[in-house]
Symmetry: C2
Subunit: 578 residues, 2 copies
């Protein structure tokens, strides 16, 4: 992982690949790498779909090693959805394989001369860029099946569906999972539209005959990994909750907390929650012989993923995540688990962010396009997106555009990106993250649900403004650092609660890189990444006024707690004042 | 004109009107009044369609007097199109009549409880607010015909068409002209959507038995008005060009200058220009017994308006303005004058900004929805907007949203508002205005075409960056002041070139108000208004980064001059540094 692969899609004589040493980017990984490159190389006022934007795909510092949970990949660019910097994070096999191919970053640059569609094949022999218009407007599932036929069962694929080709702002970049299915997505901010604008349909990564990445201190590394895994297995969330019920274990928890945004953020509890909870989901999956617990990439020991079969016992989709179940479920008033799974499948196939799509359908329902609870209408809407009809184009542009087009006032977005599955009125800490994150509303940017609801990493009353800014600040810093390591963010539960697990992570990093890594170093890394991002956004025209929740969270009281978002603007402005 | 009329559409017991003295707003008029009220009373981060936005309708300082050209009205709010402050300016009868009713401002506030549609009748006896759902989804033409039946031929109407009811960001507020037709529009920035969001379909203004507004010094006023009129008649543009050929006299002039944006700003000259020029237009109008020259409001001596008959000699629309002819003509590659007139008619009927719609259709054509030059397709698109289909909703949201929805990179907007009829590459002074105006791209905010092309108020080479910032600055200041007086902006040609005409304007103001008005006072007024607006926009999150043209004006050379926009960012940042 000692070089950067740049592919200039706008090269005069046709797309061209070139390798270069890491230079100033040496030592960076994941979000650290993507945000550094975007911040330094992309003009902040450029058009996100134009020649000056770059799509950066970067494995984490530990990716490609045998460290547990190290298979996350970062995808960065200027976001077509927010207009600011973007890092969208995904699981799947891509990170490990790209790292073993030796690339610390793959950068798609320039603008193709025409609408030819390309596939890029990267293996031990080098890089091939192949025009292949037969792939046009294929869904991710068919596309990956075709790639499997052509390149075998062991390659990892990075791809876009129809949404990315149509340059929709809700389009994702898909990464294949261990079963070589396109179920893991760099979901947020329209990164798939940027890949589409570069004319790249799919990147085939083949690490055959490439070695695993070796740590500088193998003994220390092995020991640290063992302690790390032990820590993950010991913590109730990473050791029991997530493996047993997937991320959807949260439906009952968040609903109980009165923080499950229902009917486009009108109430905080959903009558149908028990019908779509992780517990119910697991029962359904078991009854249909689905796989209840497995990892989304090799080396995962949390194994929160699973496989969801349809009523006939045939594969339908991976286990829909909590955010998806919420977005298409409670938020749209839908309590039919099979309908939600179908929506998940369609989103994955078209290459759409499930959070953005669920929030968008909620806004469309508020606009009167369909009734809350109408799952057939929701499925039809997503199909419209895949077809690229006028309505589909609107919805595929996300909640902010949909709200604007239909004249809706209650549109749950920050910086143009839809709010995820926790109402900021009853989880005020996550509201601080939504408002201030460089990414637009993003729960993963500083998951204050930990101390607000789960009593992880301490406790902070979720209904009061006190302590939320500090909580969000610390989490945003820590998260930026974790996103640089290639580690799955779910390690946070264990490292926040268990000092020895956190130390094991530090040891993993130290042993791997050969450079002593302290807690202060991790903090400094997180701050550095946030500063790259804040600097880019400032140059793109973002101000404190963009670090705000929509009005209605401050004026409409949310049941059952009858509470508004109470953190003051001047306190929000202190989040990055460290 | 000594009071403000506020109508709270969200009042508990139903909409309620109340009058109040001018207080701090005493002495203000037109844009001075709207921008002061919006800046002081509207929370800059509120949703434009929500309860906290206000729609302010204000006659100018001289409106309602017998001063020539004093019939302009300002409509202000937070713009649904730009998210910033908005003043949209219109001719027609409304300004004079509202002024004679004694109101320096009419403010629509609050948010209606349901979707009941209201009409508001204002006459010497007071204000009536009447629920009338029979008006729902009427076009402006049918609506005004109905109002004529109910309230007689002498009332002035202020109304919205279907676009305003659907809260589209390209929706206008229409003002009836001297023939009581809804042909004059406060066009830009979606002010009609805000009126729609207030639940108000039409305001009927009846000044029967109300006196003309009297000057403090009638003799001086009469004398000044005479000199002022003489000056307007003497200047070749206001005395000959505009009365003879309407604003569309510019098509040949701007095309000749290589500054007529053609095919969505791809080239600077249009092959079909002569077929849609003011000269051709006038011939067609004469041949069909149309009215070639008349005023849009009583007291107009420039008389640039006219009446355009269809092939059968029946009324079709008012004489389409230059901006409209360009937007639907050259910009879309359409050289059929009757098709352009039909588009003008449809825009007026649905209540749509012709500039925004033409620019939007240009973007849609670039996206491949129709071929440039296809006038039937353009007409169909505007009809879709009127019907509110999904495609229509997209287009009715303006060029920026249309570009986003269809993934188009070349979208000619600043702050979300479409560029008007002068390419900023070959008229670099107007480019400075587009980039920096508080309004989003707006030619009327600082019409540098004067010195750049028309040799009015001096000459500044249009193809070079030198001198453009100072030119735009001075014009933006002067324009803000003129927009406060209620005077038609076309007086600028005469007052820029003729010192005695400018002095006559100062005398008119002094004699009317009884307070000596100097050139310095006018400058101070203009600066004060811009400062209100800049302050609002700053608090709404706008920065220097928003005072920029889209990338492609800086990278794509425009024929025939093969030139890009050359004014540097740091120079743009000096426009408001006085």
């Amino acid at each position: 992982m000692d070089k950067i692969l740049r592919i200039n899609m706008g090269n005069e004589g046709g797309p061209k690949a070139s390798e270069e040493p890491l230079g100033d980017y040496a030592g960076l990984g994941g979000r650290g790498m993507t945000s550094a490159i975007v911040s330094k190389e992309v003009p902040p006022l450029c058009h996100p779909l134009g020649k000056d934007n770059k799509l950066v795909i970067a494995p984490g510092i530990l990716s490609g090693s045998v460290a547990a949970q190290s298979g996350r990949v970062s995808v960065g660019c200027k976001s077509p959805l927010t207009g600011g910097i973007k890092e969208a994070n995904s699981g799947g096999q891509g990170s490990q394989v790209l790292a073993r191919l030796g690339y610390a970053a793959l950068v798609l640059e320039g603008q193709p001369k025409d609408d030819t569609l390309y596939k890029i094949v990267i293996n031990k022999d080098g890089v091939e860029i192949i025009a292949d218009n037969s792939l046009k407007m294929m869904g991710n599932y068919d596309l990956i099946e075709k790639m499997k036929q052509e390149y075998g069962e062991k390659v990892a694929c990075v791809s876009i569906g129809q949404a990315g080709e149509m340059k929709m702002a809700a389009a994702t970049v898909a990464f294949t999972d261990m079963e070589q299915r396109p179920t893991r997505h760099a979901g947020r901010g329209g990164v798939g539209a940027v890949m589409g604008a570069k004319g790249v349909k799919v990147i085939i990564l083949d690490d055959a005959e490439m070695p695993k990445r070796s740590p500088k201190d193998p003994e220390k590394f092995k020991k640290a990994n063992k302690a790390f895994v032990k820590g993950l297995r010991k913590h109730p969330i990473t050791g029991e909750g997530l493996p047993g019920f997937g991320t959807n274990i949260l439906t009952n928890v968040i609903n109980e907390a009165g923080a499950l945004p229902t009917h486009n953020f009108q109430t905080g509890q959903f009558d149908g929650a028990s019908k779509i909870s992780g517990e119910t989901q697991t029962e359904i999956m078991k009854a249909r012989d689905g796989l209840v617990t497995h990892g989304c990439h090799r080396g995962c020991v949390i194994r929160c993923s699973g496989i969801y079969m349809d009523k006939e016992g045939k594969y339908l989709t991976k286990r829909p995540e909590y955010e998806t179940v919420w977005a298409h479920g409670g938020n749209c008033g839908i309590d039919d688990m099979d309908a939600i799974a179908m929506l998940d499948r369609l989103d994955d196939d078209f290459g759409l962010d499930t959070i953005e799509m669920g929030a968008t359908i909620g806004v469309a329902m508020e606009a009167g396009l369909a009734k809350f609870g109408d799952s057939d209408a929701a499925i039809d809407m997503v199909k419209e997106v895949g077809k690229g009809t006028s309505l589909g184009r609107i919805l595929g542009s996300g909640a902010a555009v949909t709200g604007k087009v239909f004249g809706v006032e209650r549109v749950p977005v920050v910086k143009g990106q839809a709010l995820p599955a926790y109402d900021p009125r009853s989880v005020q800490g996550i509201g601080v993250t939504y408002a201030t994150s460089t990414m637009g509303a993003d729960h993963t940017a500083g998951y204050a649900v930990t101390a607000n609801v789960l009593s992880v990493g301490g406790t902070v009353d979720p209904l009061k403004p006190e302590g939320q800014v500090e909580l969000s600040r610390n989490l945003q810093i820590a998260t930026a650092a974790v996103d640089a390591t290639g580690m799955c963010l779910f390690i946070a539960f264990a490292i926040l609660d268990q000092a020895d697990t956190f130390n094991a992570l530090l040891d993993l990093l130290s042993a791997f890189t050969g450079q002593e890594c302290t807690a202060d170093d991790v903090t400094a890394l997180g701050k550095q990444i946030l500063e790259y991002e804040r600097d880019f956004n400032k140059r793109a025209g973002f101000t404190a006024q963009h670090d705000r929740l929509p009005d209605f969270f401050k004026t409409e009281k949310l049941s059952p707690h009858n509470i508004t978002f109470e953190v003051k603007d001047e306190d929000l402005d202190q989040v990055f004042n460290w």
